[in-house]
């Protein structure tokens, strides 16, 4: 697969604030790529540079083989963007909105009608075409926003926190639409989010914090690298278990009357359980969620866990 977005040593400051510090990454064509980070991590700045809305201070950025800063107009034809906030005209109907935006791509009347028909079917908004955009619900607006981004059949669909502010049901529907689009059209989907569970669907995740990339990889890779499952034991006799663990030189923590041991692999629990079977009243193996991974990456505590994990 070829690289459709390439970013090399990107830097951007606003006055004294370094929003993006020497960031490099690439996105493979046809993949679903997530840009993860809390607010103020530098996601939006990076996106604005990709969209040719901002000029970078340093670094090379290539989108679909075109260089940002030199071939901006061509790049704009390759990217469809769904902004965080709703940017269409509330007083115009959905159809009028789409029509005016389609004109920006110099389409003929026939092309525009065909394009509007196509995107309306894709995101399932045919029934609300005559309604004013401003009167739509949040989920409907989002659909129309996506439809607008797809008008010119872009190679890359860029979504900036597409589900922020939506209720869970709408969030799920929007997600299904995005996933379906990516599957069916083989379009590259680039999204930013601060919902870790959304990133779990993607092929590749880059995590940003304070303008720097602090982790990258497939969701699976990130999980296995940063997660640590925990074995939680409630002992018949806590003091006895404690001294036994200490003599075996196992690292553990205690919370109330339970003992927690971090595991390298889930299956490592079997060995431990067999070994201390006599002392255990009950137990539980807790799989770490992606949320835990995210928090761990962000807190930079991953090293500690790796040293302290039990490995069979």
């Amino acid at each position: 697969m070829s690289k459709i977005i390439e970013v090399h040593h990107l830097c951007k400051s606003f006055g004294a604030v370094e929003a993006v510090k020497d960031v490099s990454f690439y996105v493979e064509e046809g993949s679903l790529f997530s840009f993860l980070g809390t607010n103020g991590a530098g996601k939006s700045t990076t996106i604005s540079i990709l969209l040719t809305l901002l000029k970078q201070d340093e670094g090379d950025v290539k989108v679909s083989g075109l260089t940002v800063g030199r071939e901006d107009e061509a790049i704009r034809k390759e990217i469809g963007v769904v902004f965080q906030q709703s940017i269409l005209d509330p007083l115009l109907t959905v159809k009028e909105n789409l029509d005016y935006r389609a004109r920006l791509y110099k389409m003929t009347k026939e092309e525009r009608l065909a394009a509007i028909d196509r995107v309306a079917t894709t995101v399932d908004i045919s029934s609300i075409m005559k309604r004013r955009y401003g009167k739509l619900s949040g989920g409907q607006k989002r659909r129309v926003d996506i439809a607008r981004a797809l008008l010119h059949q872009p190679k890359i669909l860029l979504l900036d926190e597409p589900t922020t502010g939506l209720d869970p049901q709408n969030r799920k529907q929007i997600w299904n639409t995005i996933l379906q689009l990516q599957r069916e059209t083989n379009m590259t989907v680039f999204l930013t989010t601060h919902y870790i569970e959304e990133a779990a669907n993607s092929n590749f995740v880059v995590v940003m914090k304070e303008g720097e990339i602090i982790a990258k990889g497939t969701p699976h890779h990130l999980k296995s690298q940063y997660s640590a499952d925990r074995l939680m034991i409630i002992a018949k006799n806590p003091a006895q278990l404690r001294s036994q663990l200490q003599t075996d030189k196992l690292v553990f923590t205690e919370e109330h009357s339970t003992v927690l041991i971090h595991l390298k692999k889930t299956t490592d629990a079997i060995v431990l359980l067999a070994k201390y079977e006599e002392l255990i009243d009950s137990f539980e193996v807790q799989k770490s969620s992606l949320d835990d991974v995210f928090i761990q990456i962000h807190n930079g505590k991953d090293d500690m866990h790796h040293d302290d994990c039990y490995e069979a």
């Binding site: 969209l51 809305l53 990217i79 902004f83 005209d89 007083l91 115009l92 005016y100 920006l104």
Partner: protein, 284 residues
């Protein structure tokens, strides 16, 4: 550019509140004239033939001048709104040149101003017709349309500069209200220039919209003036022209229409350049 232009025009006419507020200054003006300003001005002048017709023409000239500013102001409000809602980002991320985008805003505001002024002109003519006065001749209408174009273009360029300072719709709305109110004074429309102290007269003479108003007055009042001053001494006419702001006295001589036209043209060019330079500087 046509896309943005059409979209903005559609937005202006569909947004009833923008439409209303951009005409608010005009409505206030009409109400003021109707209730007491009209009588006040009329009483301050001696009785002469065709007085009502003459004053009505004078009033409509003032309304035209105000309309040419407030409606372009309302239309350019779209630019401020797009900036504050982030809607401009969508245009910036589309394959359209920034100059074309800016051009779209300007052209749409000029178009809106032009249409609204034409409506005022139409109303004026209808009122002349129904009150039994002579309507404007074809040549006069042609001239008025020319002056409308010029004053709308110069207003648009001035407002473009103003707009580049505003980031929120609220601030812009407040400024619009202030401008709409002040406009009537600064262009000698609420109260004729002759009734004002010297320092205000100087401000009025410098204010570009006053020159639009003067040009409108020269054309609209042409016929009634012929009737009014048919038997009057030349000095009385001269005095009236000066007091009512049909012509302005600068350095002892009355301004010619050409001077006003050139002044407006110069303002349009100057402010356009300033606005473009300022917007370019802000971008980087």
């Amino acid at each position: 550019m046509m896309t943005v232009t059409k979209r903005n025009i559609l937005l202006y006419f569909r947004d009833k509140s923008t439409l209303f507020f951009s005409l608010l200054a005009v409505i206030i003006l009409v109400v003021l004239y109707g209730t007491f300003l009209g009588n006040l001005i009329s009483d301050s002048l001696p009785d002469f033939p065709a007085k009502k017709w003459l004053l009505l023409s004078w009033i409509f000239a003032g309304i035209l001048a105000v309309t040419s500013v407030t409606t372009t102001l309302g239309a350019l409000g779209t630019l401020v709104e797009d900036r504050s809602t982030g809607a401009e980002l969508d245009f910036y991320a589309s394959p359209i040149k920034r100059s074309a985008l800016l051009g779209g805003y300007v052209v749409s505001s000029i178009f809106v101003g032009f249409i609204m002024c034409l409506l005022v002109l139409l109303t004026a003519n209808a009122i002349f017709f129904f009150s039994g006065d002579e309507m404007l001749t074809f040549l006069q209408v042609f001239k008025v349309v020319g002056v409308i174009s010029l004053s709308v273009i110069s207003s648009s360029s001035m407002i473009l500069l103003l707009v580049s300072f505003f980031k929120t719709v609220k601030a812009f709305a407040a400024a619009s209200t202030v401008i709409g109110t002040l406009l009537g004074f600064l262009a000698g429309i609420y109260i004729p220039i002759g009734n004002l102290p010297a320092y205000l007269q100087t401000i009025i003479k410098l204010f570009p919209t006053s020159h639009s108003a003067a040009l409108f007055r020269q054309i609209l009042m042409e016929q009634p003036m012929q009737e009014t001053f048919a038997q009057a001494p030349a000095s009385a006419k001269q005095e009236f022209l000066k007091d009512m702001g049909v012509f302005y006295e600068i350095n002892g001589s009355l301004t010619s229409p050409t001077f006003s036209v050139l002044y407006l043209t110069g303002i349009a060019i100057l402010f356009s350049i300033l606005a473009i330079v300022l917007m370019k500087r802000k971008r980087t």
